[in-house]
Symmetry: C2
Subunit: 468 residues, 2 copies
């Protein structure tokens, strides 16, 4: 379905004639009026901020396979019920767990210095007690590619690339190959371990962890992120002419098969209960911080949006609003992939009318983007949403979108999506670090997110036409 | 001598008549001209920044009794010689060492969460394996004072006071009593341990260590600083109605008697070699960062100032410039006290014509303050210094000063001092944390400091009159 539509859009004269025969269903004046009223109330509503405060404070970090994740799932179920959702349930998802146990790195030569590091996701352990080796420096992944195979025997490969700070987070992808695939390349070159400068934009002694391209088992060599000041320290030492020798001790554990959950709350549609608008955030977090901007904020915004609509309209919207607190996003969209696969298997994928995930921090929304799965005949609805969001600082944007990481599997099955684009200028200062904590979140921004998400969600659930 | 002068100033009519008979010695046009030339060259000179880069990168942290301190002392001797100082020597100072070995804290109730903490200076250890206890919260030291003696048996006292961010660092003193004396008060109230919110202005997961009022042995109970986000997390948990139970494991070691050193470099005076102008910073640092703003910056500024003057005048200034890299400042001005005591004993204290220490970070200098030990007949010289510093953004300020922490023992013996007041707005974001690293330092600010310190030091060494 997606391919047919993309082809139709590409051949625009043809597509115009094809779609011209479909009916254009307007957003009714009543729906616009209700949406505007909801928006103006939501902008003064602190519930998203308060939900986030509770999650990050009373639960904390929520890494799959830890007591924190379990507490987070229990919190999600209890909170969705307390917020008045009509239906609350969970779905089990099988996966393999992994945890860090020891993380220690020291410079031994030219002078003894402790470094602040963290293991990347599914990093292999070093030998017990650690390994000692000289550093060989590569400015980026491409530079390491040029090294001869097996040329780094007895050495540690160090990739020092810097991530660029951009509002849309566009610096992340180009820098991140060092994190995701660097371990394989380091192994190919014969290195004992991989060190990378953290994929992040800050200058604090807080390293950025994150997934590698490994879903089970371990990375090819121990794979570690240095805090950015520590990485810069190694680079400077080399500029002074030293060859730093370090001791690295990483001990991690594969937990084997574990079960995570997608936690789901629904506001049942009054006319079309089987048609669902999917919104959400991911409930899991990395273990270092308390998962405030990644992704407690998204969880809180989605939960607050569903509850706010339910509690501020006289009757439920036409379609079901399904708030999904996705499980194990950080380790490879595990909950989202299982959800999409199950809906494909049972045929209910067709009932997913549109969706979006909030997973880019707690900054304000500034743009509204639609995916190519959205029919040209429904684009006027997105334009209407953007117009009503206009006085919240949001404007309509071009391009394509999956609608957020956990929407990728659904988008691949043709589910239309919107992207409520957040200002991520500071997001990668905190992302995957110990510093991702509640105090960094601005309550005004959370209110703005609630208002924007309410506009999108209410219209998507109330407008009677098809987004496909 | 100090008391007599203070009395004279207080009785101003009398003092005016007393001092009116003393000769007023002007700063010569030649001295002013040379100073201006030096200033305009120094503002483009990166040597202070480069020295700091070397110290923080090639040595790192310099905590008394550690290999880093030893490496720092060796670095200081070597660097002073390389910079062309006429005389380089060290003086041994006896003290008692203390180091941290294990620092771990976890919230057990209401949910398991790891906390980021650090032991305060000379903290006692907990029992091996740690202690578990509920938190009792006090908003500040005064609130803990009001608790009944022995009322906190089996509990951990937690003081959550916040330090105010001020340009002159004025928020430090009022907040710091929790750090310096809180352990004694907690013991008096029967508590098992003391937790404090870090004495700092940032919101990062980097705790601020620092000295307690204990010089030997250990604090009365284990004494620990939480990172500010962790302290705020405990406060929020209590606002949600929980009583946090924590496990605290602190293992520290008293190293017994150790020897630190003051490292000294001199530019020998051409006419009055026995008269010394003392400038410096402290060479020791806390162990968590690399001691960049505290106080590598001060060390680098003082070293660069002496070398810059030596290398940019045709003959040495009239008096000796003595650059002192003070030892063990952080643990109670230990090097400075020993230095002053020795000069009092051998009578050379009278040769210390004026002094100042740079120990308030790497921010730009904005004010010039003189101590009450400076004679009213010499104030015009300070005004001249300030005038020449004017186009560097420095203005003359009132009030009294010791001239920096390590000048306190000398000031108490009557040595005149100036305070080259730095903008410390951001200083307590980094002070005593892992985040005190070279990347935080602005090279432009280091050049400005070098220019300002050059003006002060050159005039103080060249002007033939007495500051006393």
């Amino acid at each position: 379905m997606k391919l047919i539509k993309l082809a139709a859009i590409a051949a625009c004269v043809l597509s115009a004639s094809v779609f011209a025969n479909d009916p254009i269903i307007p957003v009714s004046p009543e729906t616009k009026a209700t949406t505007t009223t909801l928006r103006d109330k939501a902008i003064n509503d602190n519930s998203a901020y308060q939900i986030l405060k509770s999650l990050t404070t009373e639960v904390g970090a929520r890494h799959p396979g830890t007591p924190g994740e379990k507490a987070g799932i229990e919190w999600g179920i209890k909170k969705l019920k307390a917020l008045g959702f009509d239906k609350v349930y969970t779905e089990d998802v099988k996966m393999n767990g992994w945890v860090r146990e020891v993380e220690k790195a020291e410079i031994l030569v030219p002078s003894y210095q402790k470094m602040v590091i963290t293991a990347l996701g599914r990093s292999k352990s070093t030998p017990k007690g650690g390994l000692e080796a000289d550093i060989v420096h590569f400015k980026n992944y491409a530079a390491l590619e040029k090294a001869a195979d097996n040329s780094l025997k007895g050495k540690i490969a160090f990739i020092s690339n810097r991530m660029e700070r951009l509002k849309n987070g566009g610096g992340y992808g180009p820098a991140n190959i060092a994190r995701s695939k660097g371990h394989e390349l380091a192994a190919q070159k014969g290195a004992e371990a991989l060190l990378i400068r953290s994929i992040g934009t800050d200058d604090h002694r807080n390293p950025h962890t994150g997934a590698t391209n490994v879903a089970m088992g371990y990375t090819a060599v121990p794979a570690v992120a240095l805090s950015n000041p520590d990485a810069d320290q190694l680079v400077r030492l080399m500029e002074f002419g030293h060859t730093p020798k370090i001791r690295l001790n990483i001990q991690t554990k594969d937990l084997g098969p574990i079960v995570t959950k997608n936690v789901i709350g629904e506001i049942t549609g009054r006319e079309l209960p089987n048609e669902v608008v999917v919104i959400g955030g991911h409930l899991d977090s990395w273990d270092l911080g308390t998962g405030a901007v990644d992704d407690g904020a998204g969880v809180a915004i989605a939960m607050a949006t569903g509850a706010f609509i339910k509690n501020n309209v006289t009757v439920n919207p036409r379609r079901t609003i399904r708030v999904i607190l996705w499980g194990a996003e950080e380790l490879g969209l595990i909950g989202a992939r299982a959800y999409a696969k199950a809906r494909q298997a049972d045929g209910t994928i067709a009932n997913h009318v549109i969706g979006s995930e909030s997973d880019f921090g707690a900054g304000p929304v500034y743009g509204l983007q639609s995916s190519k799965n959205v029919s040209v005949n429904a684009l006027h609805v997105v334009d209407t949403m953007a117009a009503i969001m206009g006085n919240l600082g949001v404007s309509r944007r071009g391009g394509d979108t999956s609608g957020g990481p956990d929407m990728i599997p659904l988008a691949a099955l043709g589910v239309p999506a919107l992207n409520l684009m957040q200002d991520g200028t500071d997001y990668f200062d905190l992302h995957h670090t110990p510093d991702d904590t509640f105090d960094k979140v601005n309550p005004e921004h959370m209110r703005q997110n609630l208002a924007v998400w309410t506009v999108f969600t209410y219209i998507a659930a109330e407008w009677p036409g098809s987004f496909k």
